[in-house]
Symmetry: C2
Subunit: 218 residues, 2 copies
DNA sequence: GTCTATAAGTTGATAGAC
DNA sequence: GTCTATCAACTTATAGAC
């Protein structure tokens, strides 16, 4: 509760990387916040719970982020970055089968390793994306439509079955993220907690399922 | 604000269908509650908002349902019924292609007509199904495993491609419900609000996508 | 930078008049 | 059965000592 070693930067060394402590603390807070927001959503989470999860007093969170909303937005920003990358596998000159397989594996890896990120994102979308609506209608939309044109070209060249590319993405996102967002339901139906083995099986299923639907089965 | 016509059953006619008023009021409350819970989740919804949406004073909701939690559970119970039915299309003697197509169309119809129901369900699952976990591990699990055995038989008989039946259900639920739960994202990417036309296109996509993946394309 | 104490407001729920 | 008035508990946020 006291006597924790501290770096008193102000008096001793005025310029020891001015943002070092801030960066470390913010990282601790963001990591804890992702976990807590994932289970209870924005409204269901109190600053008190967030503070307990981070191991810091409530007012310290206010000091770094100001309000609960700003903290929530910061968590979402972190997650969106993860979400948007990974579509890079889809390139005009790539082999469709390998490109889609790589994208699916990337998405399933994200779902497995960062399920809480997926849940925070799902909560935000369920509420109508009050925080990230702009990004969805801007950055996400542009990126997806660019990748959709690549898929359209593959179809035109007869390299895969005709599939509406935008709906292909919707299906792909849904099939992969369901293992994080609805993990409880998956576990209930399987009869066991969803572990590494189940996730491997899920990844194999989604990959072969989508490739067959796209006429790209091996 | 006053002078609303009322049925004063107590003094005039002691036995005019004792539960008539109750049933009507509960129905109004449940319908309003589904809409409000869908957007904000359990924690994000206040009894005040629920009362406003139902056009009744807060204490009347308490009179009929006792607590917010009981009201929420009642909404979920309504929804689960919808969810569980519709799998009836899957019968041993059915033609796999037509049975799956019918189930998909049923699911897409639910998503289109009752998107709020889907969202309330999604919120509950995201939070780890605190209210309906028992039902998922009991009734849902049994029903799904029974239907999975039918699909396994179809596969054994060479009537469709080998697909893990449980994961087929997970994919199917995800692909269909995403149009309700993540409607905001779909609308953002499409560039327009999701209307009837988009939902028809979505339904056609999901049906052909799944049938191809199952080796059942026409 | 960190934390205790507290202000200002909202919440779920109930008592009790009608 | 219905509604107004109210309560105790909890919420976010901040002031100010250290």
């Amino acid at each position: 509760m006291s006597a924790r070693p501290r770096v008193v930067a102000s008096s001793v060394a005025p310029s020891v990387k001015p943002g070092r402590i801030r960066q470390a603390q913010e990282s601790i807070i963001l990591q804890a916040a992702e976990k807590v927001f994932a289970r209870a959503g924005f409204a269901g989470t109190s600053m008190n719970e967030l503070a307990l999860a981070a191991g810091l007093p409530k007012s310290t969170l206010h000091y770094y982020f100001g309000t609960k909303e700003v903290l929530h937005r910061a968590v979402l920003a972190n997650i969106l970055e993860l979400w948007l990358e990974g579509m890079e596998a889809i390139q005009p000159e790539a082999e469709p089968r390998e490109a889609l397989a790589r994208y699916i594996r990337h998405k399933m890896r994200l779902t497995t390793e960062r399920p809480d990120a997926s849940r925070v994102f799902a909560n935000e979308l369920l509420q109508g994306a009050p925080q990230i609506g702009d990004i969805l209608r801007g950055e996400l939309r542009r990126l997806v439509r660019r990748k959709a044109r690549i898929i359209e070209a593959w179809i035109r060249d007869g390299r895969m079955t005709a599939v509406d590319p935008l709906h292909l993405f919707f299906s792909l996102w849904a099939m992969t993220q369901t293992y994080a967002d609805f993990e409880t339901q998956v576990g209930a139906v399987l009869g066991t907690p969803v572990g590494a083995r189940a996730m491997n099986r899920a990844a194999a299923h989604v990959e072969s399922f989508v490739l067959r639907a796209c006429g790209l089965a091996s």
